[in-house]
């Protein structure tokens, strides 16, 4: 890790922020515990003497239930927000990204009442790990204040009235060194804190596997659905298109047989009609094939197919390619159609005068970036195009990121983890 002076200057402020967050977490968890414990003691104390032991027991349980049902969903949601804030700050400030470990969606996104949500949340390991962090953070975070505390100590020491020999140079030098180390070590302290946070706030191996299974199940059923829909579309297109044309061609030829030798003009007209039908049938088949698997993609692979897309685009599109081989065919096809859709979006919506496409591969991930010089402000929530692309990429664990500030430029970045197949040399 290289430490920039900027980071050293920022570290104390960030330490204070994280310390504050830890205090807030402790206050939250502490107040819940206090409410539960002292609330019951208070109620029981007031009820002392009233009724017998059984009644007191029932009342105590009722009190716990009331306190818990009123406060628990709020407390759990607040704790989850605090934990998520810590995760975000860990990524942004400490450079340690922490993925969310929750298998249970947030309360706003889950079905059922808040009470049942709380019960389910209490059954999740991630919730208790969050609680653990709320107690650990106040112990760990004071160390983040070192970069602030050390200079403060130095300043305090220097500001002491200089009485006789009370400031031996050795002590002063040691203090200066300690201050320097604390300041310089600030970014490292932050990083260590982030890693500590990840150990509790990050997903466990089991949670990771559960999420993975869920993701695979979802994307599998989506891709089965979409390929079934695709097959239906192809069937319909063939039925209404080429098949119908061939039927009409057959009928025209039948009619031609009837008039042959009797009416030459009529025969000529029917012949022209038959030719027209076959040309149209071919054109429809061609369009259909392009939609299924474009021939140039099959012939040449992703890069030339993207280049062919660029040539067909009404905008000038610059293509730069740094692929050393070919991705597996299904990935190639998904990325091709994604780029095709993105370029079509640029043409339709961006108001751009030029666009560019970049394809490269590094560290086991295929990247394709499509950018334009348009007015930006593209909203991924609008329209179905982008979600369609995400669905297309999902079975390959691919992702699409959109950056489109108002005023432009728009850059769409899609990545798919895959290995490249080395170029074949046996073809010629």
């Amino acid at each position: 890790m290289r430490v920039l002076p900027r980071e050293i200057l920022r570290a104390p402020a960030r330490g204070v922020g994280l310390f504050g967050l830890a205090v807030a977490g402790l206050a939250l968890v502490g107040s819940v515990v206090a409410l539960l414990v002292y609330g019951d003691i208070f109620l029981l104390g007031n009820l002392r003497g009233a009724g017998n032991g059984l009644a007191r027991g029932i009342l105590a349980v009722a009190a716990v239930v009331i306190v818990v049902s009123l406060g628990l969903p709020r407390a759990l949601t607040a704790m989850r927000r605090l934990a998520n804030l810590t995760r975000r700050l860990s990524r942004e400030w400490c450079g340690v990204p922490i993925p969310e470990p929750y298998l249970l969606p947030a309360i706003e996104d889950s079905e059922g009442g808040s009470w049942s949500w709380s019960v389910r949340a209490l059954g999740q390991a991630a919730t208790w790990r969050d609680v653990g962090w709320m107690f650990l953070a106040p112990i760990a975070s004071p160390f983040l204040l070192l970069p602030l505390a050390a200079p403060a100590c130095l300043g305090w020491f220097l500001s002491l009235p200089a009485a006789q020999d009370s400031k031996p140079p050795a002590l002063l030098a040691a203090l200066c060194a300690a201050t320097g180390a604390a300041l310089y070590g600030g970014p490292w302290l932050l990083r260590g804190y982030g890693m500590l946070a990840r150990s509790l706030l990050g997903p466990t191996v089991q949670a990771e596997l559960s999420r993975r299974v869920r993701h695979l199940t979802e994307t599998r059923s989506e891709s089965i659905d979409s390929s079934a829909a695709e097959l239906r579309r192809i069937e319909r297109d063939l039925h209404d298109g080429a098949q119908a044309r061939l039927v009409s061609l057959g009928m025209t030829l039948g009619a031609l047989e009837q008039v042959l030798g009797r009416d030459e003009d009529e025969a000529r007209a029917l012949l022209a009609e038959a030719q027209g039908s076959s040309v149209k049938a071919l054109a429809e088949l061609r369009d259909l094939v392009r939609g299924i698997h474009p021939p140039v993609l099959a012939d040449r692979g992703l890069v030339d197919a993207v280049y062919a897309l660029a040539l067909d685009s009404p905008l000038p599109v610059e293509v730069s390619n740094r692929l050393a081989g070919r991705p597996p065919a299904p990935v190639e096809s998904a990325v091709y159609f994604a780029v095709s859709e993105l370029l079509a979006n640029v043409t339709k919506h961006a108001g751009a005068t030029r666009a560019w496409v970049e394809v490269d591969h590094g560290q086991g991930v295929l990247h394709a970036r499509v950018g334009d010089d348009g007015h930006g402000g593209a909203d991924p929530a609008l329209g179905t195009g982008l979600s369609g692309i995400e669905r297309r990429l999902a079975p390959f664990d691919g992702a699409l990121a959109l950056s489109s500030p108002a005023g432009g430029p728009t850059v769409m970045d899609l990545e798919v983890p895959c290995e490249l197949l080395l170029p074949k040399t046996s073809s010629s």
Binding site: Q275, S278, L282, A298, L311, S313
Partner: protein, 214 residues
């Protein structure tokens, strides 16, 4: 006129042979793969080679590669490439070598025997035959570009026929106007697009294609 055909589907190979022979052309050899094509053009020195894009052994763009290789072996060999689909990318690659005698047509164009044989003869004579679909896409791509928008509808028609590789006489016949009118239109097109005028049909076609393909 002597022709070599490379087409892997027997029905189409046979059909092409019959069509060409019916129009008085001589098919000296019909092969079904790329390497054989290159060998035949060296052995027979035909006036023109007809090549399908998808050929064994790769069944990808073997035909384009074979056509370019055949032209390397026999410089200036006129080649007409036939395909089920047309790609600007391939059109560019075929034209990239410069010179004439290049054709790139959809297989559908074979249906109109007369026009097709006309295109074969044009390519054999060192001319160009670009499929209307290639030209339509080139024009669509240049739609927004300034000078193309200033052309009149008739001039655009003339331009696309010119880009396909047709002579003034053929354009006049197609649009049912006089040859002088075509000459006038084409002069105006060349001025609007700021191209070097040329009396040579083929050089004119290449200039237009180069302009559209920028």
């Amino acid at each position: 006129m002597r022709v070599v055909i490379a087409e892997d589907l027997f029905l189409l190979r046979d059909g092409l042979t019959r069509l060409l022979e019916a129009h008085g052309l001589e098919v000296v050899r019909a092969v079904d793969n790329g390497p054989d094509l290159v060998a035949s053009v060296i052995a027979y020195k035909p006036d023109v080679a007809l090549v399908d894009v998808r050929l064994p052994p790769t069944f990808t763009d073997e035909g384009i590669k074979a056509a370019l290789e055949a032209r390397k072996e026999v410089p200036g060999l006129p080649v007409l490439v036939l395909s089920q689909y047309v790609e600007q990318l391939y059109a560019r690659e075929l034209l990239a070598g410069g010179g004439g005698g290049i054709g790139y047509l959809l297989k559908d164009r074979v249906f109109d025997g007369g026009q097709f044989v006309d295109a074969v003869c044009r390519v054999a004579g060192g001319g160009t035959a670009m499929d209307p679909e290639v030209i339509a896409r080139l024009l669509a791509r240049n739609e927004g570009a300034g000078s193309l928008a200033t052309l009149s509808p008739r001039e655009r028609e003339v331009l696309s026929l010119m880009a396909e590789g047709r002579s003034n006489a053929a354009i006049a016949q197609r649009l049912v106007i006089s040859e002088r009118a075509v000459a006038k239109h084409s002069a105006s097109i060349f001025i609007r697009l700021d191209l070097q005028p040329s009396d040579d049909d083929n050089r004119r076609v290449l200039a237009v294609l180069a302009y559209l393909g920028r």
